[in-house]
Structures are given as C-alpha cells and as structure tokens.
C-alpha cells in the first residue's frame, strides 16, 4: 500500500444550481420572518424549490494513483473533472468521502496565479513561487534557472503589465515548472502559448514524471494525454466510467464523444442500398478495442464493418471501400479480393465483411468513407458515398523530434537506411 500516492475514496460533491443567495439579506430576513409567523409564504416555497435544485457534480469517485504514475483524467465538459481537480487542489471541499495524499502536492490549475501587473518579473517570480508553496530559499536557489527557462531575462526588471501575453505566460510557466512537488496536479494550462512553447511544457511534464513523481493531468487534448500518461480515468456525469490503460480509455472517450458525426449507420429495411444479390444493412467503424468510434490515432488500427443481407442462394459478394480526404480527393480503394473467402458462394442470410485499416497509414485529418457493391464479375454496381466520416488524430507517431506541420494525407511507416558511400578517411 506504500506505493499509493493519492487515494480517492468515494468522493462526492453536491452543488446547488441557480441563484444562491445573491445579496439576499432581504430574502433571508423574509424567510426568517415567515418562519416566525409560521406562514407558508412565497419565501418558504422558494426555499423548497431551491432544495430541489441540488446536483451531484461528483458521485462516489474512487480510484488510486500510484506513486510515479502519470494519470490522465479525461471526460467531456461538465463531466466533473474540474470539480475533482478543485478538490485535489483543496480549493473546495468534498461533500462526502475523502482524498488521502502521500507526499508534497502542488496543483497548477492556472499559470501565473497571483501575478500582479505592477510588479516586475522578478518580484512576480517570488510572489508566484510563494503562492505555489515554495519557500524563499527554494525560489532563490532556482531563480536563475527559472529566468533562463522563461526566456525573458532581458525584461525581468520590467513590470509584467508591459509584457506581451506570450512573455507573461512563459514566465508564469517557468515558475511552475521549477516546483519540485512529489505529486503534480495539472489542468489544461497547456492550452496557452504557441506550439513551440506547448511542446516545451509537455517536455517539462515528461521530465517531472521521468523523475519518478506522480502526475495527474487533465486535458482535452487526447494527443497530449496519450503521449504523457500511462493510464487514464474516464469521468462521465460525475462518475468514473472506466479506468486503465491510456490507449484503451482514450479510444473509449473518443468513441463516447462523437458529437459531430456517427460512427455507424443503419439503413431501415426499405432504404437499404444494394442490388439484386444483396443489400447493405449497416456500416460501422470500430477502434482496435472493438468499440464503435470515429476518431483514431494515426498509429492505431481500426476496422470498417459492412453488414449485409444476401437475398438469394449461391451468390458471390464483391465489395470495395474507398477513402476520400476532407477536400474530397479520392485517396485509395480496397477490394475484398484479398478476403480469404472472396470466392465463396453465399447462401441466403446476413453476413458481415470487415476491412482492417492498419495504423501508420493515414495522416491526421478528416476522412470520408465510400462503399461500393457489385455482383459477381464486378458488374451491377451500387455506391454509397460519404456514408461515414472519421478523424485521425496526431499522437506524434513517426515524428521523432519533428514538431512542425505534417502535411499530406498519408503517414506511412517506411524504412529508412543510411550508409557511408565514401568516407573522408
């Protein structure tokens, strides 16, 4: 049990919705008077209504974070992530349950908390450091590093109100980055700054975790969560939906979070596209874990399934799947001629053919699927264009240290080799 850094035990948080006593001296006195007079008047009823507007922002959250683990906390907006973070940061108290912590904990819900515009960069470094719980001596010993990391050493004696927003954030993050907590709680502070700076921040968090420290990381950037964390907890409507390996949880979240487009389509019986041999019932996309989804990492496999009804005996099914990019350019088509049972004659019934698209093929971006069906001999064609869309997400696969835009529709894994042809001795 010694290797648990944070233990969250049945943490629940109750919030009241609506107006909560906004300058309500008058109302409170009214309620008080009503109670004295035992009058069931409007104030009393208002109180009753207020009691009904209670909402559990968190309900019985229980999980452990191991020492040295980097855990991603993911969920939709309003799922309760922020509330949990606030409880972990001691900004607010849980209504029920408790959180037990082993080790010095520092939370970063924001960079630059307490920065005062009139103070110089240097003064703010000390102030912000102290707010984050560093002693003056600690800050002094790290001061040079902080200033160098921030890259604003030239302006360190200038009031921060004269800083550009980028400089401001860089300095603020520099302070935070040089905290040495045993447990670090990070909110989406990475949403600020340019790409280069974000990469720097991620690198710093990686460093922190490499030193065996525990990190709880909340972000909407699945790529960031995926590249930083080993495990993840998925929160939905105030409850832990799933937890475990980061890849699986992130994919599950992406599957849950398909707001824009569906990851499957079912055709009603009288609208099924097809020909005299077979009609398509449904088309689905599944991630590598078998869940329906329409967002995948570029390095991950996914599968397109076509479910169809064969209308008569003894027919051979010919199918193709083609992909278009967001601009509508056709990228490639894949035929079911590679199916081991391609030339099997089917009897009447329902079948499902699937095609697995390997990871490290497509680049990040949006893609559309088109399905084509044929009778034996590739005749009597029918097509279903743009039937489903999906998105490929950048998980930094194959990038190495390349941080800039990765263009094109494909990101295939090819083989590179170098050898010396002639050597200057």
């Amino acid at each position: 049990m010694e290797d648990i850094a944070i233990r969250i035990e049945q943490v629940s948080k109750l919030y009241r919705l609506g107006i909560i006593s906004s300058g309500s001296l008058k109302e409170d006195i009214g309620m008080l008077l009503a109670k004295i007079n035992k009058r069931e008047d409007e104030y009393f009823e208002a109180g009753e209504q207020e009691r009904k507007q209670l909402v559990w922002a968190l309900k019985d959250i229980t999980f452990d974070v191991k020492k040295g683990e980097v855990l991603g906390l993911i969920g939709k907006n309003g799922a309760g992530k922020s509330t949990l973070l606030k409880i972990l940061s001691r900004v607010t108290e849980p209504t029920r349950g408790r959180v037990k912590i082993r080790g010095r904990i520092v939370s970063l819900l924001e960079v630059g908390t307490g920065f005062h515009p009139e103070l110089t960069g240097k003064e703010n470094v000390f102030l912000n450091g102290a707010i984050l719980g560093m002693s003056k001596r600690e800050i002094l010993s790290k001061y040079d590093e902080i200033v160098e990391f921030s890259g604003v050493s030239k302006y360190i004696d200038t009031p921060v109100k004269r800083y550009s927003s980028g400089m401001y954030v860089r300095l603020a993050f520099a302070v935070a980055a040089h905290l040495e907590p045993e447990i670090l709680i990070v909110d989406e502070v990475l949403a600020v700054g340019d790409a280069e700076f974000q990469a720097k921040c991620l690198g710093k968090i990686k460093d922190v975790s490499a030193h065996g420290r525990t990190v709880v990381f909340v972000s909407h950037s699945m790529a960031a969560v995926r590249s930083l964390c080993q495990s993840a907890v998925l929160i939905d409507q105030g409850q832990v939906t799933d937890s475990g390996d980061v890849g699986r949880i992130v994919d599950r979240y992406l599957g849950l979070n398909q707001v824009v487009t569906a990851s499957s389509v079912h055709f009603p019986p009288n609208e099924r596209p097809g020909n005299v041999d077979f009609k398509v019932i449904a088309i689905r996309i599944r991630n590598q874990w078998g869940d329906e989804s329409n967002a995948f990492f570029v390095s991950a496999d996914f599968t397109i399934e076509i479910e169809y009804e064969v209308l008569k005996d003894d027919v051979q099914i010919c199918l193709s799947v083609s992909l278009n990019n967001a601009q509508g350019d056709g990228l490639f088509a894949s035929l079911n001629t590679t199916d081991r049972e391609y030339d099997v004659k089917r009897k009447q019934g329902v079948y499902m053919s699937s095609v697995k698209v390997f990871g490290s093929l497509l680049n990040c971006g949006k893609f559309h699927i088109a399905i084509n069906g044929y009778r034996e001999g590739w005749s009597d064609h029918f097509g279903i264009n743009n039937v489903l869309s999906f998105e490929m997400l950048d998980d930094n696969a194959l990038r190495g240290d390349y941080k800039q835009n990765y263009g094109g529709s494909f990101r295939p894994k090819l083989e590179w080799n170098t050898k010396a042809v002639s050597n200057s001795k």
């Binding site: 049990m1 912590i101 102290a130 707010i131």
Partner: protein
C-alpha cells in the same frame, strides 16, 4: 487493505472539516514567506507610478490634522483637553487610521482574492494577516511622524506643553496589538458576511464613519457630557486615551478599560475566525 487500514500513513487527508475553530497556526507559519511577499506587493503596487510614493502615508494624516485644527479647533473651537490641537488630532487620527484601515482592507479579503482563492490553496488567513501587517507598518511610519511633531512641541514650541512621558510610552505596542486584533476581527467578520450579503460592503464605510464620531478622535470623551457612557462602550476609546495619556499627559489610564478592550478584541477575532473558517470552505461554491 482490510487489516492495516489504520496503520497507513498519509501526509494529507482532504475531507469536509467539522471543527469550528480550526486555526492551523503551523501551516500559516509555513507560509510566512508568502505573508512577507504579500505585504511587499501591497506596498509596491500601491505606490508604483505615484510621484510621492509612501510619503502619502504621511501626507494624509498631516493634511487631515491641518483641516481638523482649522475646522474643529479654530472655527468650532472644540476643547482638546488642553493639549496642542495638532498633537491631539494626530494621535487620535493615526490610531483610528490603524483600526479603520485594518477593517476596510481585511473586509475585502474574499472579494479581492476570489481569483487566487479559486485556483490555489494556501491557508486563507494568510491574506488578512498580511493586510494587518501592512497596516501596522503604515502606522509605524505615521507614528514616526507623530513623534517628530511631538518632539517639536516638546522642545521648540515654547508653549506650556510639558507632559511627563514615562514608562507608559511602552504601552504603544499593546495599543497597536489590541487595535490590530480588533480591526482584523471586525474585518474578517465583515468579509465572511459580505460573501453572502453584498449589502454589507456598502454599510461598512458608513458604519466606520459613525464609529469614528463615537471615538475620541476629534474631541475628548468628556465633551459628550451626559452621554459619555456611550463612548465608554467603545473599546477604541481606551486605546486612544491610553496613547494620549502616554504622550500628552492628559486623561487617565484605566486598567478596566484596557482589559475591556482586550476582551473585545479577542472575542471579535474568535468570532471572526469561526465565521471565516465556515465561509472559507464554501466560498468557492457560492461566489
């Protein structure tokens, strides 16, 4: 997991607190550097880009003293117990200033720090404590001014002002302590209540003004004649009287009064901390 639950060692347990008077001095002490930096920030931020800077601490009471001397002294001719008017007003003003300044600035604790309190944890009392220290420092500067004026009257004025300052001068730290505790107590009570009743923040300035007239700032308590007892219920009265007794040689010192003031300040601070702790927990959920 089942057997040795109680033996587990945790550094911190976050749960709903139930103690009324939960004053964690040790964790506040841990943040002493932050208190110092807050005090510094308040001073630096207040006077950046002003020409006179901290001189304003001196100009304010001097100017008010000058005004009082003309209006209440020359025009209204209100008696000042026989001591030189400027010294009488200045002594009253700086002590009153310490109290009202402390109340006003601590009463805004939650409202002013909402942004920080919502993002990061540190013992919340750090904020009012740092504000109280700022006010004490300001009082210190003003007290030096008072001493200069006092020395001037003592040696260079040549008038009949001959107080015999004795050991009672050493009471000044006691006065500062009691006034500060009282100010902080009132301030955090108000700051806790204003999170719920915003009207109170409007009321505070008005109430302070009223209280000033119930304190012997502009006139000695005796001037109220039959209603002097009203002043006697005001614990600040004794503090101002004590200061004047020490430096101006007027009035008297009353042990009862000092004990009464001390009791008031401790009670106010205790109520303040209880309320503060209650609000501190729910503050972020209601504002």
């Amino acid at each position: 997991m089942e057997a040795n639950n109680s033996e587990e060692k945790w550094d911190l347990i976050i749960e709903q607190k139930h103690h009324w008077l939960d004053l964690d001095i040790r964790s506040i002490w841990k943040y002493k550097d932050l208190i110092v930096l807050f005090v510094r920030r308040d001073f630096v931020a207040q006077y950046k880009q002003t020409l006179l800077g901290p001189l304003w601490h001196i100009i304010q009471p001097l100017f008010t003293t000058f005004l009082f001397t003309i209006i209440f002294g020359q025009i209204a001719n209100i008696k000042t117990d026989g001591s030189p008017r400027p010294l009488f007003y200045l002594s009253g003003l700086i002590i009153w200033g310490l109290f009202s300044g402390t109340v006003l600035s601590t009463s805004a604790t939650f409202v002013n720090n909402a942004a920080i309190f919502g993002k990061i944890y540190f013992p919340r009392l750090v904020s009012p404590i740092s504000v109280v220290i700022s006010n004490i420092i300001r009082f210190g500067i003003q007290f030096v001014l008072f001493l200069i004026v006092w020395v001037y009257y003592l040696y260079f004025d040549g008038s009949s002002f001959h107080p015999h300052p004795g050991i009672s001068i050493l009471f000044i730290p006691v006065i500062v302590l009691i006034i500060s505790i009282m100010g902080m107590g009132c301030g955090i009570i108000i700051s806790s209540l204003t999170t719920k009743y915003r009207d109170l923040s409007m009321f505070t300035g008005f109430a302070l003004q009223l209280l000033m007239y119930l304190s012997p700032v502009i006139y000695p308590a005796v001037i109220w004649g039959r209603y002097e007892w009203v002043m006697k219920y005001n614990p600040i009265t004794y503090m101002i009287d004590m200061c004047r007794y020490a430096f101006l040689g007027t009035g008297q010192i009353s042990i009862h009064g000092i004990l009464y003031s001390l009791a008031c300040s401790v009670i106010l601070l205790t109520i303040g901390i209880i309320l503060f702790n209650r609000v501190e927990k729910s503050f972020m959920d209601t504002v």
